[in-house]
Symmetry: C2
Subunit: 332 residues, 2 copies
């Protein structure tokens, strides 16, 4: 059973999920020469995963059959478990709670594609719609405070299986990053009665040194103070709190914008390992309409090291203005 534990000094929560130590790593990730084991995410291997919770199929094929375009399954080695009892005892000096939550895998392609850049716009659209559907599904459950959709591509970005996939973790509490963002949003609103993300969009549109692309309702930009070289954010230009509430039409455009950014990264930086995360409004928060959802795309070219872990401060060796210029001029 996973456990959430809190550091008594910094109040930082960590997830202790000792069963995850047993998860298999694909041979191809560890050792490119050996590729013997079948991939559990390929079409035809549906019995290697837990039964699906969502799949997009054109025809009327049965659940867990091989005819799908995007498939969502519970993570076989979850960081958190959905069905568990309440709090562990806190009578102690330390604080902990049961590791209650949801951990799902969104398999992005039935074929063994290892780079998201190999998927077309229709497939991006399906993937984003699958995210939305799963978020809407869990949102109604009062136990959850927050959900994070994220992707790890490449071993250096933390992927343990190379078949293109993303993940959803649903949490019973607001994590630190979301709390920090929400705090910033609230403070700025209290001072100005405006949304800080809307103002960031305004500033960046007016002085486009950090702009990467601008299409319809979305912009992609290198943020002013990025933690990672070539970090890119995608934001809706008009205020919107929740990614899961995007219209079908917006999701179609967003798929194009996200794919375009990933292609630019691939072409400019030789298909770098990367993470992306979708930051959407926390659930069950009265202030949730003040939030402004966005996607953060973080290439993993350098490594966080002693300084970063010890200080919480990142050293980035690429100016975001230089990064944006490179990405803007990618030959697509």
């Amino acid at each position: 059973m996973p456990e959430l534990r809190q550091d008594p000094i910094t109040k930082r929560w960590v997830i202790i999920a000792s069963e995850r130590a047993h998860r298999p790593r694909q041979p191809s990730v560890i050792d490119a020469a050996s590729n013997a084991k079948p991939c559990p995410f390929c079409a035809g291997h549906e019995d290697m995963t837990p039964p699906e919770v969502l799949a997009f199929r054109d025809g009327k094929a049965a659940a867990n059959s091989a005819d799908w375009s995007v498939r969502v399954v519970p993570n076989k080695y979850p960081a958190l478990a959905p069905d568990s009892a309440a709090q562990i005892d806190n009578a102690d000096f330390y604080r902990a709670r049961n590791g209650v939550g949801v951990h799902e895998v969104i398999i992005e392609s039935p074929a063994h594609v290892t780079s998201m850049a190999g998927l077309d716009e229709r497939q991006f659209n399906r993937i984003l719609r699958a995210y939305q559907e799963r978020l809407r599904y869990w949102q109604t459950d009062r136990r959850w405070q927050y959900a994070l959709v994220y992707k790890n591509q490449g071993e250096r970005a933390g992927a343990t299986l190379e078949h293109a996939h993303s993940q959803l973790i649903v949490l019973p509490q607001l994590p630190r990053e979301a709390a920090d963002e929400l705090d910033g949003v609230e403070k700025y609103f209290a001072e100005t009665r405006r949304c800080i993300y809307c103002d960031v969009v305004g500033v960046e549109m007016a002085r486009p040194a950090r702009l990467v692309s601008n299409l319809d309702r979305f912009i992609a930009l290198c943020p002013y103070a990025p933690r990672f070289p070539y970090e890119v954010w995608i934001l809706p230009k008009t205020h919107a709190a929740a990614f899961e509430d995007c219209s079908e039409q917006d999701i179609a455009v967003l798929g194009m914008v996200l794919r375009d950014v990933i292609l630019r990264l691939k072409l400019s930086l030789e298909d770098p390992p990367f993470n992306f995360v979708i930051h959407s409004t926390p659930w069950n928060k009265s202030a949730n309409t003040r939030y402004h959802w966005h996607i953060e795309i973080m290439p993993q070219l350098a490594r966080a090291a002693g300084f970063e872990w010890g200080s919480g401060m990142h050293i980035n060796h690429i100016l975001p203005e230089a990064a944006a210029s490179l990405l803007r001029h990618a030959r697509l």
Copy 2:
């Protein structure tokens, strides 16, 4: 010129040091087959580094000659620069300041040793004394708020040169981790009139499931809520705010304890890549005697990925109780 920039939403500061993009990576780190270039940290190559700011020599040899045991030099590709003017303009929507600070390298051995586990107790003692001397040197300069001594061993832990070395960064402001720790210390003190680190030591000594070693004035333990598998902290058992104020005798014991932990990690986990950081009290803070210095040693076996970067919450797949048991039973 490096720059400190603040994210307007989370208030997180980052260091943008674009000149660091030019630093050479040792061929052996990138490609084990090629080892053509000479190592700038080996004795005899003193002219490949900036002139030393400290070196321990037995004899009366001249500065920057080859006869040294530990040598400290300014980082050739510094993340921060000590001699620079004040604030960049903040008239803007965004906040930035000049990247003023210090960045030094502590070369831990004249020979080309790549693992700190290969150094003896005398050498650990010298290294720790070098840290102290440099901290004491910079501490008197009123521009600095905080200093972090850290080490990256192994490419997966962020090392770009394999010759054993550690680093010192001195900052004009308190970084996020230090602020969070100090905040926790202050809140606990306000409630209990006690030091939270002293109480952690008391709790862990009474119930030694997470104890790794216990020698003289120091204990090594796996913390209750570790971010990383096999993370170990070394703390003085009696209250002490500043590492740099340790007595010579304590430093000698600390060298033994630190070396012992690094040997246990090496023997238990096949010489893992790791970071360590020395958390000492911030400078120029009225509350600084309330802090309790300690060393955090963080093996880098897994990778921070999308979830960690997006949530600020770490998933650790090893229970600290299991980690401590493994390390306690290492056959030294």
